[in-house]
């Protein structure tokens, strides 16, 4: 075991976010993601009531044309984080990039982000999962700084979900029934996820002026061995646990027809996965890793307002609740941006002026994908 005095501390010295285009309200959102079979979604109204989102940003214009790419949004967020830290991109020694679905299938997202950023030769790492991929990238950046492998590391995350929500992904596939209605497991996410990117810069010393965030620890727990995929793309619902029947086996045309290409969510399983997240949280509290009373600010990436109500009852009874006045969220104003959400929230939080030296900031990133949850404990310095 490495003695901790041989490891360096690591601080977030810059935070940046990028949200594309104008803010889109609930009434206009279907103009951007499109209407499946030309008809407004019935499921959509219900989804919006459930998740409480009132605004979001799309990297598409009203005719469905792209304004950005996933990588270019990440590069803009990375540049904003570097500007915030007062650093030039030439200072970067390590770049970690996270996303649910990158612009290309191959190569990795970090290559595309590095290219868009116009950064010189350096070490990079790509992390592909769902929301928690943000913390995978953050942990890589943190450990690189801690181990002395890099003096300036950047972790970014971006999503261009709206592109995957266009009608072409559903029309003429098994996801639309004979009456032209899309399956709930397909349509719901279209009203839940939107676009944007965020980034953080990490260094072994705090920035000379202004606030930095010391990264105390990052813990992630995946329960994939116990659950089938809960949110996925690349398989039809019935086949999703059988990796041999993944989309590439049938080829893209047949896979598309079978409804194996669009992003899907199993809502029955989600209820079980939510309880699994709560279980991990309670275990962290029980082990003393997290002491709720000592958390000053909670940034929780949750994909729906209603999840919170379900969580609150048990948390109060087990003294594991962090009072609501300590929660900071941008979900209602700028939507659920998947892996980028946590950085978009952290950026807004730091700009809000709420962070005071000595305070702790706990970031929680649950991922339904195949049941995972990540925690990151920060200290304002």
């Amino acid at each position: 075991m490495i003695e901790s005095d041989r490891l360096r501390d690591a601080y977030m010295t810059g935070v940046g976010a990028f949200l594309p285009g104008p803010r889109i309200g609930n009434a206009e959102m279907e103009d951007f993601i499109g209407r499946i079979g030309g008809r407004s979604s019935v499921v959509g109204r219900r989804a919006l009531r459930w998740n409480g989102i009132e605004g979001r940003y799309y990297a598409l214009d009203a005719s469905g044309q792209p304004l950005h790419s996933n990588a270019s949004m990440c590069a803009l967020a990375a540049q904003a984080a570097l500007d915030d830290a007062g650093l030039d991109k030439g200072a970067l020694g390590f770049l970690a990039a996270a996303t649910t679905q990158g612009d290309l299938l191959v190569p990795g997202h970090a290559s595309a982000v590095q290219a868009e950023l116009g950064a010189g030769p350096m070490e990079i790492a790509s992390f592909q999962s769902v929301c928690a991929s943000a913390l995978m990238a953050a942990k890589a950046a943190w450990l690189n700084v801690r181990a002395g492998e890099a003096d300036v590391a950047l972790a970014c995350a971006g999503e261009f979900s709206s592109r995957w929500f266009r009608p072409e992904f559903y029309e003429g596939t098994a996801l639309v029934d004979a009456k032209g209605r899309p399956a709930v497991e397909a349509d719901f996410l279209r009203f839940t996820l939107s676009d944007g990117a965020g980034a953080v810069v990490m260094e072994p010393t705090p920035r000379p002026e202004g606030r930095s965030l010391k990264v105390r620890w990052i813990d992630m727990v995946s329960l994939a061995g116990r659950f089938d995929p809960c949110m996925w793309a690349g398989a039809a619902t019935a086949d999703r646990a059988d990796m041999k029947s993944a989309w590439s086996h049938a080829g893209p045309v047949a896979a598309h027809a079978a409804g194996a290409v669009a992003l899907l969510q199993d809502f029955e399983l989600l209820k079980i996965v939510i309880r699994a997240w709560i279980g991990v949280w309670l275990e962290k509290v029980d082990q003393g890793r997290i002491v709720p009373d000592t958390v000053d600010h909670l940034l929780c990436h949750y994909s729906a307002k209603s999840l919170r109500e379900e969580i609150v009852g048990l948390l109060k009874d087990t003294k594991a609740m962090i009072p609501e006045e300590k929660w900071f969220s941008t979900l209602r104003e700028s939507g659920n941006v998947g892996s980028a959400s946590i950085w978009i929230m952290l950026d807004a939080f730091m700009k809000s002026g709420r962070a005071r030296p000595g305070e702790t900031v706990l970031c929680i990133v649950p991922e339904s994908g195949r049941a995972m949850i990540g925690f990151m404990m920060l200290e304002v310095v």
């Binding site: 329960l223 061995g225 116990r226 659950f227 089938d228 019935a238 646990a241 029955e268 399983l269 209820k271 079980i272 309880r275 699994a276 709560i278 279980g279 991990v280 309670l282 275990e283 509290v285 029980d286 048990l314 009874d317 087990t318 003294k319 594991a320």
Partner: protein, 226 residues
Amino acid sequence: MADGMQTDQVADTLRKLAVVFADFEQRLEATPLIRKLQRGRFELTDYQTFLVNLRQQVKDGALWMSRAASNIGEAHLELRSTLMRHAVTEHRDFRLLEADYVATGGDVEVIRAASKNVGSEALSAWMFHEASRPDPFGLLGAMWIIEGLGSIKAKPWGQKVKDRLNLPDEAVRFLLYHGDNDADHMEEFQEMLRMVLPDEAVAERIVMTARVTARLYVLQIEEIAA
């Protein structure tokens, strides 16, 4: 002050129990039988085998609870009453299970004559062993697991079975009825915890009993050939 200590230990115990239940649910989800149910591969024979295997343990439920009640001392009469009420409520539940089985086309003699599987044997032996001790408060942990299963898992399972196999309500009453019946179980359970806590040794025993019960219950489901 004493109230504060009690509240803290009830909350601590409840939190540990919630962690045990989360692990329990995940292990159940990963059993071959439940995987079949979740993946849409569940057949009528799977459901019938499930009922046959469950019936023997459900029949024992009210019996170990009665035995536990008889071993609760005078200092905890209220808890004794609560367990007796529970036993009375549940001691005919296995008949409901038999009726469900018959409604699926099964022969009542088959479900009645079936022997316990390895997991049910272990679970039942463990329950009666615990219930035979003086003041067997650890069994609150067992109730947390088994009643939690009733209030959280039974109804969604029942609904999935019904939809998948196209069964009428009267073939899925045990699963569906439990979901309706146990909605207030959280509040009542906390009341029971307050009857025996604070007490460090009792709190530890409740959590350990929950863990053992959970593992043996999963073994029972694993043993159902899928």
